[in-house]
Amino acid sequence: MLNRHGFILGLLFLGLSIGTHAQGQTRFSLTSDEPTVSAILAEITANLPVQMKNEINRPLVVKFTQTDKNDRLYFPTDEKVKTLTNPAVAGEYVPGLMNNSNEIQINKNFLPLLKTPGYKEKNLTATDYFKKTVYHELAHIYDFLKFRNADETTFYKENCGTETYSDNKKAPWCNHYNRVGRFSEDMQFMNLDNWDTSKESKNTQRKNAIDPYVFKNSGEAFAAYFEAFMMDPSFACKKPALYNYYTGITRAQPFNGKCKSLNSRVYTHNQEIDLDPSRLYQIHFFLAAKGEGFASRWGHAMLRLVYCAPYRKKMDDECIKDVKNHVIISFRANIDSLSIDNGKGLTGKYPSQMFVLPFNEVKEEYTEAEFRDVQSLPLVLNQKQKQLMLEKILETYWDYRGKYYFLSNNCASETLSMLFSVIDDTRRFDLIKYNDVLAPTTPVGMGQSLIKFNIAQYPSLPESQLIANGYLFKSGRGSMDIAFQYLKQTNAKALDAIGAGQVDLYVTKTSGEQRAALMESLLKQAPQRTKGILSSSYILENNIKLRLEWALRNKIAKKIIDAPEIMEGQQFQDAKKLQDSVENTIVNAERKTYGVPSAVDFEDILTTLNLRDMAKNQKKIAEDLSYDSLLKELPEFASQIRELQQNTDNLKQFLLEIGKAISAK
């Protein structure tokens, strides 16, 4: 929980013992001169993972002394703790310390409380607080024991040229590798718990943390989570990926192992979905090609959760075609304003948030609205890693918000971090993150890196097969070109007559009335091509709809931005709040528990925040919007609104004609 040890001193003491721990009888013991705690220490000793006892392999003494500069003992629930700006460092709020390898110092004010039967503050008894403190210090001791294994040392020598811990000039990334000596600086732990460096957490979402100290440094986070691993029966369900990590490094499974009733439900775009691990077939690296906007010129990196449709009895490659059931995990800058400020994007002023999105919506966004191809690269993950990824996704959904930097902490780096929170391979992570010339902080470069290092594979198939099997989704531009060519082949002169000899001119320069008249004219001239003419007109009109809406949106946004009396008005803020997405509300809310909520807690959150009502209200606002009301209130945009209205009428008309044409056959 607290900073209470001399790291360097501990390193010197404990480093001497590396490789010397006994395989059989351990020399570990935990004793104190205070008889009051002998039974508790015996219990801790009995419960402590055998792996830890074997590795620590020395007698430890618990000594009661003054650890707090004011000689006070604050419980974590004490309101005073919340007011401390720099606890522990300032010598306040220090229940325990680890100053050398053989002694754990405990705040002496524990003693009278431990002698008072049943003493507790809020729901925490003095006995449990004492246990947590001892476990915390034991975690620090164990943390210092982790050094590179033989393989890592060989790799390091070959690539960095020295075994010393000093800065290495040969390659900058070797400095990072140098630091990887403790569990709390282990690549996988740091990615699991969102650490950029051991001193800097990427997570800015701190109100629902298990303990504020998990943000102090990765060493304190490691110790604080270990307390929960040993003492919180719900830790396996609240932090399932972290629970798995501790299980791996201690070879212990407190409270009967993994979570038995993980709540995998989340809210996405105001719909509840279940990230059910039992139907997950594969996870793909999902890569949108470069776009035209500043923020999308490097592509966009995402993950695709390939779920099998409920009706499938067999889980195989056919599931890759079940796109309706797939889910996209996408880190994006959460821009809570009406326009994107590139300056803010470059300087980390936007939150980096993980969105859980329906596959078809994301695919359409990139291929139809932005004309970008999307590749889907299957990741080389085993069953356990896939399960872990889902657990990490849930932890991230509920507990993480970073800072989005367009050029550094972006979709690629966040996705890479997700990947290496489940792939325990420091070498490949360091090679990709620090040493790969493919520039992995760009999504496109990251895709190439993942293939190069055999983390993802892209099938060697002809393009048509890649499309047919769900590995490639082509830009909607192709459909538009086919539609336009069909109209042109029907009567090129008619298109020229309205100044629409090319597809881009048809989309941007013609009016809705012209297009409706053109469609009628073509039908009369070539009735044998009715279905094609109608389908082509509809496809082009659909694309025009996106362009018109986008243009109108920008005009209205500008109007609002330029009018502070509107922007800052209560009505606007109320309406905006109403329109805020449910997932944003969840992330911003203060909850009763940390981590992934149980099913009961989840329902409680939905009820408390009125989330279901919020989703209904959003739908209602959309339904209440009409072109008449827009025209009345925004007369300066009348021409754009009327054009959009005509476009909508065209779509309806074309569709109805298609219906007739198909039925007539």
Partner: protein
């Protein structure tokens, strides 16, 4: 500015789409007056049927070997799993499109 139109402005300005890239789709979904259309009679997702179904109809006009998109194919599979049919993908698409459009037409007529 009235409250309702204020909300409309926010809808147009990027509802629930604070995130880069979400804006266009969010607006497309919100502004399209699908709310005036009735619920699907076939259980097939109407948006997929209309967009990908019409695209498939067109592609089939120019290429006899055209295949439906994966999204459309999945909708057709799910429909066929409930109501088995020997129709080809194109025949089934045509039939569902016709039924769906007729249903919407009737609904719109009833609203007038």
């Amino acid at each position: 500015m009235k409250k309702m139109i204020m909300a409309a402005a926010i809808v147009l300005a990027g509802v629930q789409a604070h995130a880069i890239g979400l804006t266009q789709t969010a607006i497309a979904i919100t502004v399209l007056p699908t709310a005036t259309l009735s619920a699907s009679i076939s259980g097939v997702q109407k948006a997929v049927l209309y967009r990908d179904g019409v695209d498939f109809v067109l592609r089939s006009e120019v290429d006899p070997n055209a295949a439906p998109s994966l999204a459309l194919q999945q909708e057709l599979n799910e429909y066929a799993s409930k109501k088995p049919t020997n129709e080809t993908a194109l025949q089934l698409t045509n039939r569902l499109l016709a039924a769906e459009i007729a249903n919407d037409q009737a609904y719109l007529a009833s609203k007038k």
